[in-house]
Amino acid sequence: MKYMLMMNCPRDGYDQFTSWPKKDIEAHIAFMASFARKLQGAGEWVDGQGLDAPTQAKIVRAGKDGKPITDGVFPESKEYLAGFWIVDVDSPQRAYQLAAEASAAPGPGGVPFNMPIEVRQVMSGPPETK
């Protein structure tokens, strides 16, 4: 069964991250790389992507003529999606365990950052793209 693990960050999280000390940024990057390698080595990795900074995000709606109407992200949103993994695991417990590992990625001073990770099961059945 497949799960999407969504790494949510507080609104000011990106700004905080950009001002971490160098060794903490390095430790965080090294953790993420080794987490990805571990998932790949265990045969549980499906996909994983980081998203660009929320300041670059746009909300798009179709206008009357079907053309896109773009707007910046709403400043009142408390959290945003920073990145995600899709894993293929045997049980929901395993997905929760992996989410907890990701959540404990090192933050400033090497202390676990304990970011909230939203875990959602990917629905099965023929995808609607087929």
Binding site: T18, S19, P21, K22, E26, A33, R37, Q56, G109
Partner: protein, 424 residues
């Protein structure tokens, strides 16, 4: 494609011959997809027979012969199917040249014509890249999909749509005339350059497949140069690729972060590639018509020739960027021109040029402009401003290695500027 039954030499031979066989087949039958199938079948037949019977004396002729036979079978099958279905057959693309089987006609320009076709200006560059790698490079759709990090079905569709546009555009399978040729060749070189950059700019971490794209671009450019050895643009592009790729091993650190040119361990540079590239630059610069690739290659050569960053001949690089800027009008060239200006006349002179670029819509708000500005501010000793602009650049880039580099640069500067903050 891999042929497990063949030794390396025979496999390389098949890869080199595949586009020629495809070109020769396509010259006679306009059906892109069916020709591709026929060539695949010929390659599979070779993989089955050659280990047993040995490589034929004329392997290319052998493959073309088999592919043409398959195509003829295919066309006959199509005709009888259409007759059965009582469909009008006026538009059946049946062109069987007489005497084909007696002596498979071979034109060394077939590969070139095929390249001209795959890089046709009617195609988007994404389509042209995919089609070139498929039809000329002989990569499987799966390999191409992996290189561009998209699902195989998506890449298959992109390639198939590209083939349809070529078929419906009725671009003739023939050498463009002299007037059109230079312009079409420049599309080909542009596509090869894009393939190279796609591999080079992301050659880091787990994405090993992408460095294969650089190798493939170099291989294809070599093939074009064999066909057009006198063309200084082709020679310049090959030199540029080799002189840039020579630094690959030194370009990224253990975390996949970018290492700038002046901080690279130059002992990791590939000296053999540099020697070959330097010889090509000389040849390209001697032969008259100077284009952007030669100039870029000459600049890369000046960097590669410097044993230490401090030995770099910046005045000459600045002069070359000046020529390049007048020739191309490319804003990225203008950025590099500002960097070279800063090296020769000091960081403030470079920063003044950047201020003018703020007005350029193609650069305004881009991470590149911010990254260069941050570097120059750092050199000028304005650490606080540099930190802000490095962070701003980091939030604008969409490349993870680049973001990490910019963030670490800001962090390093921050710690140097305020050492008491080190013990958080």
């Amino acid at each position: 494609m891999t042929f497990t039954s063949l030794d390396r030499r025979a496999e390389q031979l098949l890869r080199d011959l595949a586009p020629q066989v495809f070109g020769a087949t396509l010259r006679r039958f306009r059906d892109f997809a069916a020709c591709e199938d026929a060539v695949q079948e010929a390659l599979i037949a070779a993989a089955a027979q050659w280990p047993r019977d040995g490589i034929p004396d004329n392997p290319r002729g052998w493959l073309i012969h088999v592919a043409l036979r398959r195509m003829t079978d295919h066309v006959r099958g199509e005709i009888s199917r259409r007759n059965r279905e009582s469909v009008a057959i006026e538009d059946v693309p049946l062109v069987v040249a007489p005497g084909v089987y007696a002596e498979p006609g071979i034109d060394p320009d077939d590969t070139l014509v095929l390249l001209f076709m795959c890089c046709h200006p009617a195609l988007s560059s994404a389509s042209a890249i995919a089609l070139t790698l498929r039809a000329v490079g002989g990569l499987t759709t799966g390999e191409i999909a992996k290189s561009f990090l998209v699902p195989e079905a998506t890449m298959a569709q992109r390639i198939s749509r590209a083939k349809q546009s070529i078929e419906s555009s009725r671009v003739p399978f023939s050498m463009p005339d002299a007037a059109e040729r230079a312009q079409r060749l420049s599309s080909v070189l542009h596509v090869l350059y894009l393939i190279f950059n796609e591999g080079y700019t992301s050659s880091s971490g787990a994405s090993l497949h992408r460095t294969d794209l650089s190798n493939e671009a170099i291989r294809l450019t070599r093939a074009v140069r064999q066909l057009l050895p006198e063309d200084s643009h082709v020679t310049g592009l090959l030199a540029l690729m080799l002189l840039t790729d020579a630094r690959r091993a030194a370009r990224t650190g253990p975390l996949g972060e970018l290492i700038p040119l002046d901080e690279q361990d130059r002992t990791l540079w590939d000296q053999q590639a540099i020697i070959e590239g330097l010889a090509l630059v000389e040849a390209a610069m001697r032969s008259g018509s100077i284009g952007e690739y030669q100039l870029q290659a000459a600049i890369a050569a000046l960097h590669d020739e410097a044993p230490r960053a401090a030995d770099t001949d910046w005045p000459q690089i600045l002069a070359l960027y000046g020529v390049l800027q007048r020739m191309s009008g490319n804003p990225v060239v203008a950025l590099n021109h500002a960097i070279a200006t800063a090296e020769v006349h000091g960081p403030r002179a470079g920063l003044a040029l950047l201020d003018a670029l703020d007005q350029d819509d193609r650069l305004a708000g881009s991470h590149r402009l911010a990254a260069v500005r941050a570097h120059l501010l750092e050199r000028a000793g304005d650490a606080q401003a540099a930190i802000q602009v490095y962070r701003d650049a980091a939030t604008r880039t969409t490349s993870i290695p680049e973001r990490n580099y910019l963030l670490m640069r800001a962090a390093q500067l921050n710690e140097r500027a305020a050492p008491e903050k080190l013990d958080l």
